[in-house]
């Protein structure tokens, strides 16, 4: 069947001429010499040497474009330091005796930056010039495989390149010439603007001249009133009070008058600096929301009609402090607080029930671990290690148990174990179905993946705050925080394990008449077991590491010892407890690994 196998050749032109579009003889020559490794090191592309970014964008060599731009901007930033420090040096030189430290420092900086800037600029250019044709050749090689790679001479790309440069270069250069801004200056700028806005609204005027006049008038009026009151020989109590009030008003008015002057003194440069070259500007400031508290109280009305245990949520609202303006961050943080308070008050029953379930199950497990005589627990550990792992691991387990026992950490360690067991059990019961659903449903996977990533990356300490807000301080919220921290690997690896089942195997099962449920139970889950076990292992390890942190909100066990010793600055105690945690973790890990290995058939 020799002749039958026709190789489909796509009708594509891969010649250098089509790729470069212009200046073909030059590039043909260069590319050929490059292929033969005959191109000398010092070979320069003159355009790459002079205007590398323009050349690169014209030819679509974007990596070179960005590199050239970055090097040039870096060089210019260095040179701008010279511009920045030279006036400072001149200023200092006016009074050499007083500035003996500043003068050599400025001189040194100016010289260093100057040299660095020129080296970067010139060296960078030579590098670009010598590399330009080599990179271009690489691009040609890629283009031969994939015609979507940029090729030819396209002026639109130059426009794009120029836009990029216009966005990046001038602002960065300008920033380099400026001395670091005073952060407070920008905040006071925003505040002044707010004050002026309020004043404009209060006097119902729209130009600064009349505003200043109005403010001045007001000040005059207040001043006259104050002078009159102050001049009284024997002021009555009412008059004294009025005088105090007038003085206060006068001061406030004077401040506002100053704010108007200050606002007018803000130059466009100041405004530009605050908005564009430092921190992201404050976009909007809001009136603070009213402070709301929710409380659950007995519902007397309902009780009167016979419902014995009726309760209701009452809302206490204190009006916002006048003139308190806050930024978006604070506004939202306070809104979340309000929301949590509401949930906490409205659904107190549910949270209490959850807390209770957690507490009860935790107590059961703790009883199992702590009230079982220690020889039994130790024996069980040893037996598991013996059955599923090698001798060395068994000895390690024995040593670890001996450590816990000898340092009188046994009960505490068992408490930690109980916490980890409960948390892990919840992780499995929740994580497994969620993982399966994720594997089966693309949309759910798309939604859940970022959530899981966030769960894994949020600092574990921040879980503690909402846990405390909803459930108070005790063991149950510690378990919940641990669950949230430890569940992502369980979910992710379950989903991964199921997704990894080869399409052909699933197809075979379907071809023999499997339903979706049978496919999951008889094919996908069994084949995902190794991955799920790996997830379980990781979950346990994370739960153990969280056990320490959740001690901050009341988790008992080895973690509590660590936090205690942190509070009392007892290094030894903390270290020993830490080692104990590590040993517990390693014991569980090794034994689980052994169990996994002996059950895995694949």
């Amino acid at each position: 069947m020799s002749g039958a196998e026709k190789i489909e050749v796509e009708d594509r032109d891969v010649s250098v001429g089509t790729f470069v579009a212009q200046n073909e003889p030059y590039f043909s020559n260069v590319f050929e010499r490059l292929q033969r490794s005959e191109l000398p090191r010092w070979h320069m592309n003159i355009w790459g040497l002079l205007v590398p970014w323009l050349w690169a964008s014209l030819r679509g060599v974007w990596l070179m474009f960005w590199l050239a731009l970055a090097i040039d901007i870096l060089a210019i930033v260095c040179l701008m330091q010279v511009v920045k420090f030279t006036p400072l040096l001149e200023e200092a030189l006016k009074n050499p005796e007083a500035n003996t430290t500043l003068i050599p420092r400025y001189t040194g900086w100016i010289n260093t930056y100057n040299a660095m800037g020129w080296i970067l600029l010139i060296g960078g250019r030579f590098w670009m010039g010598s590399q330009a044709n080599r990179w271009y050749y690489n691009q040609y090689s890629r283009w031969r495989i994939d015609h979507a790679v940029a090729h030819g001479v396209v002026f639109k790309r130059v426009v794009i390149g120029l836009v990029i440069m216009a966005i990046c270069a001038p602002l960065t250069t300008y920033r380099a010439t400026q001395i670091r801004l005073d952060e407070r200056a920008c905040i006071s700028q925003v505040r002044t603007a707010e004050t002026v806005e309020d004043l404009l609204a209060r006097y119902n005027v729209d130009d600064f001249a009349s505003l200043e006049r109005s403010v001045a008038d007001e000040i005059t009026v207040l001043q006259t009133a104050f002078d009159r009151l102050d001049g009284l020989e024997n002021p009555s109590d009412a008059e004294k009070a009025e005088r105090t009030q007038t003085r206060r008003d006068l001061r406030a008015m004077t401040r506002e008058g100053e704010a108007v002057a200050e606002y007018q003194a803000i130059t466009p440069k100041d405004r530009f600096d605050c908005n564009f070259i430092d921190d992201f500007p404050t976009l909007a400031r809001f009136d603070a929301p009213p402070e709301i508290r929710y409380r659950r109280v007995p519902d007397e009305e309902a009780r009167a009609t016979g419902d014995e245990d009726a309760t209701k949520v009452i809302v206490q609202e204190s009006p916002p402090v006048e003139g308190r303006r806050i930024n978006i961050f604070t506004y939202n943080a306070e809104a979340i607080d309000t929301g949590i308070n509401y949930l906490r008050a409205q659904y107190a029953g549910i949270f209490d029930a959850m807390t209770n379930v957690l507490r009860q199950s935790l107590i059961r497990v703790e009883v199992a671990f702590m009230q079982t005589p220690w020889p039994v627990v130790a024996f069980l550990f040893m037996a598991l290690a013996w059955a599923y792992t090698n001798r060395a691991t068994t000895i390690f387990v024995a040593g670890s148990l001996a450590f816990l026992a000898a340092f009188e950490l046994w009960q505490v360690a068992m408490q930690t174990m109980a916490l980890v067991v409960v948390a892990t059990a919840i992780c499995v019961f929740v994580g497994l179905p969620v993982g399966i659903w994720m594997a089966k449903n693309k949309l759910f996977r798309w939604i859940n993946e970022p959530i899981l990533d966030v769960m894994q990356t949020i600092p574990s300490l921040s879980y503690l705050v909402p846990a405390v807000a909803f459930f108070g301080i005790s063991q149950p919220p510690a378990v919940l925080a641990t669950v949230i921290f430890a569940i992502p690997p369980m979910v992710k690896l379950t989903a991964l394990g199921i997704l990894q089942v080869p399409e052909s195997t699933k197809e075979a099962a379907l071809a023999f008449g499997a339903s979706e449920r049978q496919l999951l139970r008889k094919v996908e889950l069994p084949m995902a077991i190794p991955s799920i076990m790996a997830g379980l292992n990781q979950t346990i390890m994370l739960a153990l590491s969280m056990a320490t942190i959740s001690a901050f909100i009341g988790a008992a066990g080895l973690g509590a010892l660590v936090t205690e010793s942190l509070g009392d600055a007892q290094a030894g105690k903390g270290l020993l407890a830490g080692i104990a945690i590590a040993l517990v973790a390693m014991m569980i890990d090794r034994i689980l690994r052994g169990i996994r290995a002996s059950f895995s058939r694949i």
Partner: protein
């Protein structure tokens, strides 16, 4: 064909999000594959395929990789939904079946063997073979019995408790075959079952499958990219190219009368000795001229060229082809040589 077990009628499969639009365009405007790709971003996988397989027949679908043969065979048990066309299994339209009925049909009536075996790695060989039966809710004991019987048919008795990973490739494919046979289905779909095996084992399995086939008489659709295999195995052969069935016929039909250059190219290297019969190359007695005297070797019209060569080497004279006692043709040495070369029709 009245006793057709598998029937495909104008089956189309177009892959892509806008498959149905593309299908309409194909119907109304008759656009070709490149236009479908360009206008709808859709790929034509199967193009207007029709064939039927009679009870007990082995039908080989052959084509190069990418010719759509694996796609087409997956329509028969509806692992892939056709874009258009109907598929009937023993007279029942499989496209109209409800989910439960479809699963029952797949489990009871159709067995499938895959190129990459696709055995379940966590189950023993016996549990793999009993998989279809288990899915139908059969109890463990009966299932094990059936699995052991199937193991015996593929001469692997005693391997029931191994894991698939412990077996060699050839043995794994026997397990795959046993799995397909275990539920005693009417139809066997074999998707390049022997392609991944080395030549000796392949040959061995082909022979075994042929003899097994004689016993169990399963209606088989056999996919292969190897023409030799297709000729060995198939009662009839369908040749696919770019999703289209370009020719259907017996091995002899295809070798002696290729439908187009593509098929001709394909069969060019095939030995015609065992394929072509005397009737295809013989010259009519009138054309040959007078036949005088005795001592002519005699053959029947359906004897193959191999037989003719044997007869012809023993004698100086041309071979007479007689249907009963009637002389229907003559094959001289020249005719025979041209016929062997494949130039008889040219």
């Amino acid at each position: 064909m009245s006793d057709a077990v598998v029937e495909l009628e104008n089956v189309w499969k177009i892959f892509g999000e806008r498959a149905s639009d593309a299908m309409d365009a194909v119907r109304q405007e008759g656009i070709g594959k490149p236009e479908v790709l360009e206008r709808f971003g859709a790929v034509v996988g199967v193009k207007d395929a029709s064939f039927s397989v009679a009870k007990g027949e082995i039908f080989c679908l052959m084509g190069l990789s990418g010719s759509g043969k694996s796609t087409l065979v997956r329509h028969i048990n509806r692992l892939i939904e056709p874009t258009a066309g109907t598929i009937r299994i023993m007279g029942e339209d499989i496209g109209a079946m409800k989910a439960e009925q479809l699963r029952a049909t797949r489990a009871d009536k159709i067995g499938m063997v895959f190129q990459n075996m696709a055995l379940l790695p966590h189950r023993s060989v016996r549990d793999n073979i009993g998989f279809a039966l288990e899915l139908r809710g059969m109890d463990g004991y009966t299932r094990a019995k059936a699995a052991d019987r199937a193991l015996e048919t593929v001469s692997l008795h005693g391997y029931g408790d191994r894991l698939p990973s412990e077996l060699s490739g050839g043995m794994q494919q026997r397990v795959g075959l046993a799995r397909a046979l275990a539920a005693d289905p009417e139809i066997l779909l074999m998707d390049e079952p022997f392609s991944a095996l080395d030549p000796l084992i392949r040959r061995n399995l082909q022979d075994e499958f042929l003899s097994l086939s004689q016993d169990v008489k399963k209606t088989t659709v056999f996919i292969t990219h190897d023409l030799d295999e297709a000729i060995r195995m198939g009662d009839r052969i369908g040749i696919m190219k770019d999703g289209e069935i370009v020719q259907i016929g017996t091995a002899e039909d295809i070798v002696t009368a290729p439908a187009d250059d593509y098929v001709a190219d394909f069969v060019a290297g095939i030995s015609r000795l065992k394929l072509v019969s005397a009737s295809k190359i013989m010259v009519s007695p009138e054309k040959h001229g007078p036949i005088n005297g005795d001592g002519y070797p005699v053959a029947r019209p359906d004897d193959d060229l191999d037989t003719l060569v044997g007869l012809s080497t023993g004698s100086e004279k041309p071979v007479l082809i007689k249907d009963g006692d009637v002389l229907v043709g003559v094959v001289s040495k020249d005719t025979l040589l041209t016929g062997l070369q494949g130039g008889a029709e040219a």
